[in-house]
Amino acid sequence: MEPIDTSLIDWSRAQFALTAMYHWIFVPLTLGLGLIMCIMEAIYVRTGKEFWKATTRFWMKLFGINFAMGVATGIILEFEFGTNWSNYSWFVGDIFGAPLAVEGIVAFFLEATFIALMFFGWDKLGKKTHLLSTWMTVLGATFSAWWILVANSWMQYPVGMEFNPETVRSEMVSFAAVALSPVAITKFLHTVTSSWVLGAVFVVGVSAWYMLRGRHTDFAHASIRVASLFGLIAALLTAATGHQSGVDIARHQPMKLAAAEGLYEGGTHVGLVGVGLLKPGVNWAHPEEDPFLFKIEIPCGLSMLATNTPDGYVPGIKNLLEGGYVGEDGLKAPSAEQKMAFGRKAIDALRDCKRGTDGEQTEILRENFPYFGYGYLKTPEELVPPVAATFYSFRVMVILGGYFLALFAGLLLVGKRIAAWKPALLMILLSIPLAYAASEAGWIVAEVGRQPWAIQDLLPNCAAVSKLSVCSVQTTFWIFAVLFTVLLVAELCIMLRAIAAGPEKECA
């Protein structure tokens, strides 16, 4: 097979990463701040106090500014599957399209309809109807996260499908298996609860700024109280769902786990690295030399995570490529070379089975299909994702997860006394960018860690990409880079100005 120009793949990936990461700046705040706003409005409806109405409206104003950018950056992603990953779109369209269509029909309309009521309906609707609109808007946003994460999880862990040689694509055989895949549920829960954390950090951060300035202190206290309780619960849930994500990748994407842990040579009683510094330029084939300059680890932690026993075997990058260890299923794992041979067999069988009429070839295809994607690879090295990016992002996310837990717990303990403690307020304010860092880092672990796959084991990027000129993709990359950056700066200016202006009089 003539390889596709690697720079086309790289630029297409870069464009997807750019647009997805920009989109992800806005989504978690929509999910997190949205729910906080819902809670505040519920307090208003219960207590009838104008103070809570003004508080809700202030956060809603910031929500609106952020939401617009989420919409603007999101539309690109939906169509980018087609524009830049056309082969992929055909190969999985039968499965992937359904969640996207449901997302449109069920979730987007809920969001788009009720958001207009939420913003424009304060004077036109009854209190309870307005509250319902706010909840519906946020519910719509959360629903849409559900469906798109179903799609994403399917790429990490393809279930509920069968390959049809006649149509040359994967076809869905069970919608329930796709929509309720355990990986999808974990991913949804981790993504949404971690977004709640981000929303809570945003609210306490902005409130801390008012305290530093000695402005709107009642408003700031009230906001911190709601957000830190909410944030604490969210951070606990994030840690629990994050742990489950780790268990999932240990089971379904061992290479991602190995990369996230910098584990070149596996074994039993493997520790979980807490912090560590990787030696640059380590070669997976020679892990005899320690890949770490230094590390602090939890003994047997990784074995526990992956196998639930302290002496469980966890394969490293080298083992995954060389095979030969006994897997969970009790069988000897094939080497990368063997998997590539199975993959080529599957591809050859697909070519020869002349549209599914030849039973013998169809059987060969079926047998080897789990390795289909390996047939497109040239060398085993291609199977190793960028280790450093995955490893460090994982640390950033998890360590910050611990920090946010402590932050919210501390805020709840200290209560109103926090106002007197300037350095702490400054630290809380500076936590806002950290929450974004943690959230983006999570996606880097999930997406960089699964390279080279567009669909785990079935379709590598090189067989997923659209045939375009590199120059076209470069041009759109730079258009998006410039446009989104300008719009982001505009958004930040508007946001800062709205924060500086503060809430309405009732809160002052």
Binding site: D94, V102, M172
Partner: protein, 385 residues
């Protein structure tokens, strides 16, 4: 229910979404009229307030249209989006800039200034309908793609199923005047609908008077573009699947492709005529009865019906809905581009939610729009949002 039934059902849904989208593009039309109809800042804000409460619905319909097309006819999605790259990218870009503009235009410290965001809205209003219309034209008159599903397993070839035959990646569609005529017709229709919408919604005598005086010209231009498109549409030769004795089914050029399709499907023909009449009645209402606010209802409904009736004969009855100019055998029919029977069935079950979705949209519109927008709302709006 057969596989063919589900394919045709989904083509109907996709057509319906397209029809709703074209109707809702009155928002885009309205954006191009902000300066022509609004001579004071107060009036411009009023106009943008009227479209600003609706733009998200148009946008969402576009996104859902994309999702539904992907889910039901993935080969179209992968072929057209991946191939006509530049057309779709331009369309997307002009919707990206729309999405921030309503929110940002009146905010303080918005970096680019109010005028820039209004120019963004103008660009979206002009290019959106024009490009979408032109792109839809290629469904009738063909595009430059080649499909080979075997490419994914052939040695010596990059494993890409759908390719584009020109380096222009879709931009070449403007060289076919028929596509451009459709684009211009959609643009003018969106402006006409916007006038009708403003006449219905806005309580400002100056704006209403200006709309009424502009309307005859806009209608005239719309008719010129639409009727020329319709002429080409009915009379152009086009590709069709023809069964040849012995050789089986093959793709051949047939004369008056769409005229024949309509004659084969008289119900669609009747719907098309009814749609066009409804549009005309709606457009002429304010000219005949200046006090009437109802034109938008008839014209809006007529638009949806007309668009659906234009698209149905493309896919129904085994027709080719996306002809390939580069390689006729690659042309797309519902049967060769659709999802598996199981997926179509599952999604059909989901589509039963659509009436429910429509019901709450109608409820929400009604709750917000009990009475037309008063000029006094402009200042209060600015502080609330």
């Amino acid at each position: 229910m057969t596989y063919t039934f589900f394919q045709e059902y989904w083509w109907l849904i996709v057509s319906l979404l397209a029809g709703l989208f074209v109707m809702l593009m009155f928002v885009q039309g309205g954006q191009t009229l902000v300066y022509a109809l609004g001579h004071t800042e107060q009036q411009r804000r009023l106009l943008l307030l009227a479209t600003g409460r609706k733009w998200e619905l148009t946008f969402t319909t576009l996104v859902t249209f994309g999702g539904a097309f992907f889910a039901s006819f993935p080969l179209f999605y992968s072929t057209s989006f991946g191939g006509a790259y530049w057309v779709w990218m331009l369309i997307l870009l002009c919707f990206v800039i729309q999405a921030v503009s309503y929110e940002f235009q009146l905010k303080q410290s918005n970096l680019l200034g109010t005028t820039t965001y209004r120019v963004f809205l103008m660009v979206n209003g002009l290019l959106g309908p024009l490009l979408v219309g032109t792109a839809v034209g290629t469904l009738f008159f063909g595009a430059e793609f080649i499909i080979d599903k075997q490419a994914i397993v052939l040695p010596g070839e990059p494993p890409v199923i759908s390719r584009w035959a020109t380096p222009w990646h879709g931009l070449e569609a403007v060289l076919d005047v028929r596509n451009v005529l459709l684009g211009l017709a959609v643009l003018m229709l969106s402006r006409c609908l916007a006038h009708l919408y403003f006449l219905n919604r806005i309580e400002d005598d100056e704006i209403r008077a200006r709309s009424r005086s502009m309307l005859p010209w806009e209608i005239g231009l719309f008719l010129v573009f639409f009727l020329s498109f319709a002429w080409f549409w009915l009379t152009s030769a086009g590709l069709a699947v023809v069964s040849v004795p012995e050789a089986g089914a093959g793709v051949q050029e047939v004369p008056c492709r769409y005229l024949h399709a309509l004659l084969d499907m008289p119900a669609v023909l009747v719907a098309l005529l009814a749609g066009v009449v409804l549009v005309l009645v709606g457009l002429l209402t304010p000219l005949i009865k200046p006090a009437s606010r109802c034109g938008i209802w008839s014209a809006g409904l007529g638009t949806v019906i007309t668009v659906v009736a234009l698209l149905l004969p493309a896919g129904w009855n085994g027709g080719i809905y996306y002809p390939s100019l580069a390689n006729p055998a690659s042309s797309l029919t519902l049967a060769n581009s659709c999802s598996s029977p199981y997926t179509l069935q599952v999604m059909s079950a989901v589509s039963l939610l659509i009436p429910f979705v429509l019901a709450y949209i109608v409820w929400a519109w009604h709750a917000l729009e009990k009475s037309p927008i008063q000029p006094s709302e402009v200042s209060s709006e600015n502080t609330t949002h």
